[in-house]
């Protein structure tokens, strides 16, 4: 069946769906296989973006001897935070994706290691008004050199309630539909086949086995800790752009 574009001026809904399946217009969630676009769906937009480099300072090796260990040291550890973004309170804590030197790492992933285990872990903490990068580091016998890391952060919109007095508005550069649920002032995410800005996933990106850790990023990059002895191969993902 040919695709059908239909707009309802009363509800403000705009949809492209498979012609002859009118239920796809009135009940899109129950007929997703017939829907190509429906403005009442909660499409994911990007509300805020951060691109930048954070200079992580050097961390000294531990100097504290362990009374039980002749040539090894007790670990030193600490944390430091950097605010990446501040934004108006959206009324909820938004989701986001953090890209670290071009890779999407799992939460609390190591981004630097020296020697057997002196390591620097990073994670992203979200609030209703900010996105905060947090470093957790620990050192044993080896220090951690200063490190510049390039971060990209995409903060997403959540489900948007209907609001305003316009059910449907179309201008040359903006489209508002379904009484504000769809608003192209947000940059909506689209699936792309190549050169994505980030990837959306539905499964694991890390595994443990034999006392070790393997990370397989959504882009397929494998990061082992030298101890892992399993066979984790990652999870398929969908590349996206804005």
């Amino acid at each position: 069946m040919p695709k059908k574009l239909f707009a309802n001026g009363v509800s403000g809904d705009v949809a492209i769906y498979e012609g002859g399946h009118e239920a796809a217009f009135t009940s899109p969630l129950a007929n997703l296989d017939k829907v190509y676009f429906h403005s009442s769906l909660d499409y994911v937009g990007v509300a805020h973006i951060y691109n930048g480099v954070i200079s992580h300072p050097a961390r000294a090796a531990s100097a504290e001897s362990d009374k039980y260990l002749v040539n090894n040291k007790r670990p030193l550890n600490g944390t430091q935070e950097w605010p990446l973004l501040s934004f108006p309170n959206a009324g909820y804590v938004p989701h986001g994706i953090l890209v670290v030197n071009g890779e999407q790492m799992p939460g609390a992933a190591p981004v630097q290691r020296n020697g057997a285990a002196s390591s620097r872990y990073i994670m992203l903490r979200m609030t209703q008004t900010s996105a905060i990068l947090r470093e957790h580091w620990h050192t044993f016998n080896d220090s951690l050199a200063a490190l510049n890391v390039t971060y990209s952060l995409y903060v997403f919109t959540g489900p948007i309630a209907q609001s305003g007095d316009k059910t449907l508005l179309i201008t040359p550069t903006q489209m508002i539909a379904s009484r504000g649920k769809l608003n192209t002032s947000y940059r909506y995410i689209r699936s792309v086949a190549a050169n994505p800005d980030f990837r959306l996933i539905r499964g694991p990106v890390a595994d443990v086995r034999g006392g070790g850790l393997r990370i397989v990023t959504p882009a397929g990059t494998v990061i082992d800790d030298g101890v892992y002895n399993g066979s984790f191969a990652g999870t398929p993902s969908k590349g996206c752009s804005i």
């Binding site: 059908k4 574009l5 705009v14 492209i16 129950a30 997703l32 829907v35 190509y36 676009f37 769906l41 499409y43 994911v44 362990d66 039980y68 260990l69 090894n72 670990p75 994706i97 953090l98 799992p106 939460g107 609390a108 020697g115 057997a116 285990a117 994670m123 903490r125 979200m126 609030t127 957790h136 016998n141 959540g158 489900p159 040359p172 489209m175 769809l182 002032s185 947000y186 940059r187 909506y188 995410i189 689209r190 699936s191 959306l200 996933i201 499964g203 694991p204 990106v205 890390a206 595994d207 443990v208 034999g210 006392g211 070790g212 850790l213 800790d225 030298g226 101890v227 999870t235 969908k238």
Partner: protein, 271 residues
């Protein structure tokens, strides 16, 4: 003439912003949110089985002692008496063979043996996982993606033989998990990883689930000396033996527990 950036046809809606960036293009699959869920749950990672091996070493210390025994001893000796011999009263001594019971002592070497014990506890390798459900997806839809933030705290922390509490990285607040999240790590002397704990959030059969995994290598704790556990003498007559039971080594409990809240957005791409 203004180049209009809103284009529509039965197959496509394309909107570009004032600087030409595409903000909506229905010709490419677009992710949308099916539902959100906030679910709290707990997980307890188990410890590993362990056993003790005892090593005994004996230190011996020599000493001299007097070995005395009652003996019936005969020998010539002068025996003097006042008496009359041949009509003459006097003090007469004779060398005669005399037999008698005597306490006879000799110097001998003895040994004090002190047995010391050291204990080495060995921990077994363990692979462990647990799956818990977070949310059922509406209409049983097979979601294409999930976005997850995690908040929570570690309510009990495992310890290791060298460095104490396992390294944990879960701070207060809502943290992006991005598919998986590393919860705990532990390291041997020098730093090689021997324990890792993670959680991964995934979609399976219309249900969002979390899988907790723990993996640790077999390790030996440090050898602990528990001093002298017994003393005995050779010969036994030279002292009362002392015996204490072999003590157990310190036991390091690898168990950790977390209370976690998952803030999940479940979504699908339109066609």
């Amino acid at each position: 003439m203004l180049d209009l950036s809103f284009h529509t046809s039965p197959n496509r809606i394309l909107v570009k912003d004032a600087v030409g960036h595409t903000t909506l293009d229905t010709s490419q699959p677009m992710p949308h949110i099916l539902q959100t869920a906030t679910v709290s749950l707990s997980v307890s990672f188990p410890t590993s089985g362990s056993s003790n091996s005892h090593q005994h070493t004996t230190a011996s210390y020599m000493f001299n002692y007097q070995d005395c025994q009652m003996q019936y001893v005969c020998g010539y000796q002068n025996v003097c008496v006042w008496e009359t011999r041949n009509g003459v009263y006097g003090y007469y001594c004779d060398n005669v063979n005399v037999c008698e019971w005597k306490n006879v002592c000799t110097t001998k070497q003895g040994w004090r043996n002190e047995v010391s014990c050291s204990v080495l506890r060995s921990y077994q390798a363990r692979e462990w996982e647990q799956v818990q459900n977070i949310a059922s997806i509406i209409n049983g839809i097979d979601a294409d993606f999930i976005q997850v933030k995690v908040s929570g705290s570690r309510t009990a922390a495992g310890t290791d033989p060298w460095y104490g509490t396992f390294v944990g990285t879960l701070p207060a607040g809502e943290i992006l998990s991005q598919g998986s999240m590393i919860l705990e790590s532990a390291f041997q002397p020098g730093g090689a990883s021997w324990l890792r704990r993670i959680m991964s959030i995934y979609v399976e059969n219309g249900i969002v689930k979390v899988k907790f995994k723990s993996s640790n290598k077999a390790i030996n704790g440090r050898s602990e000396s528990n001093g002298v556990v017994s003393i005995y003498y050779d010969p036994p007559s030279q002292g009362t033996p002392v015996n204490y039971p072999d003590p157990a080594s310190s036991v390091f409990d690898f168990a950790s527990s977390f209370n976690l809240t998952f803030h999940v957005t479940i979504g699908k791409f339109t066609q």
